[in-house]
Amino acid sequence: MRCPTSGRTLLGMDADEIPDAVLARRAALLDRAAFRVIVDRHGPALYRYARRMLDDPQDTEDCVQEAFAAAWTSLPQFAGRSSLRTWLFAITAHKVRSLQRRRTRTAMPLPFAPVDEVDPRALDPALSAEGTDLLEALNAALRELPPGPRSTWLLREVEGLSYEQIAEVSGTTTSTVRGQLHRARGYLVQRMEEWR
């Protein structure tokens, strides 16, 4: 005999087990606990992406803040045609492009600050130092890429989006995505070879 499920609250469940689609529709109904889980689940990746696209900590903060505020207000219209993750990346990428356009009208970007990249919670100091060197080299190489190929490489190789999802996020075609990825990979391999 099947026991009926009891009345549910988010706090009574393991948040990791709740699918994105369920969180999205609860957050659409102003469920703040569900929205907090969405932020915790996707925030690190969105911040990581925006940080490397904007090269500036303050712009990154503004971008991610604005992206999540836009997500909160737009969730009732989120129809689930794409995954929540792709939808959030699309909002963030749009904010990134807006900030980049605004920036070209004002000042040159600030240099990437390596100190911001050290994770204080790293477990192994030796591995952390090695990883930080590698990350700094990658960050430096990424800065040299134009925004389109840089965004495509980050979304594909770091965040694991499909070509179709990247095309949706970037408002372009999959053939453009393929071309950008090919160019970005070739350049980054060359720069990492030089770093070695």
Binding site: R2, P4, T5, S6, G7, R8, T9, E17, I18, P19, A21, V22, R25, R26, A28, L29, L30, D31, R32, F35, R36, V39, D40, G43, P44, Y47, R48, R51, T60, E61, V64, Q65, F68, A69, A70, A71, W72, T73, P76, D116, E117, V118, D119, P120, R121, L134, L135, A137, L138, E157, V158, E159, R185, L188, V189, Q190, R191, M192, E193, R196
Partner: protein, 148 residues
């Protein structure tokens, strides 16, 4: 390691990396986002000394919380329509039900929970089951309770 292997390793390191900037920003992000205004139509309610206007987003949210307490059902979408005078005209609750649950009693529980919440939120003396249409639509069934 050649450049390709280094790039693969660097990508993996970056994938597992959480920027310290995010750690400090996280709480602010949630607080700022939920302060963002969701525009929605007003719904007219009653107070002992006058009238009350409640944003439809607030009404929908409260009905959503009430429906979440009904076992074996989850709200997919809740919408309400109002008259030209901002009176509540119709509330629609779209549901996903747990597979095997008898649907008619379930829909009745949801309808009652929604109507009671509308009455409480709008200051109505009785649940508006006769005056206001509360429609329940079972859109999906799932064997997985996590999807409710």
């Amino acid at each position: 390691m050649n450049g390709e292997q280094l790039l693969t390793q660097a990508a993996r390191t970056l994938r597992e990396h959480t920027d310290s900037g995010w750690v400090t920003l996280r709480d602010d992000v949630v607080a700022a986002a939920v302060r963002a205004f969701r525009p929605s139509a007003p719904v007219r309610g009653r107070l002992p000394g006058g009238e009350l206007l409640v944003a439809s987003a607030v009404l929908v949210s409260r009905v959503g919380s009430a429906v979440a307490e009904v076992a074996d059902a989850g709200a997919l979408r809740i919408t309400c329509t109002t008259t030209a005078d901002d009176e509540l005209d119709r509330l629609t609750v779209e549901l996903v039900a747990l597979y095997g649950t008898p649907l008619v009693p379930l829909a009745d529980k949801v309808r009652r929970a929604a109507a009671d919440t509308v009455a409480e939120t709008l200051g109505l003396a009785d649940a508006p089951v006769d005056r206001v249409r509360v429609d329940v639509s079972v859109q999906d069934v799932t064997p997985d309770p996590r999807l409710l």
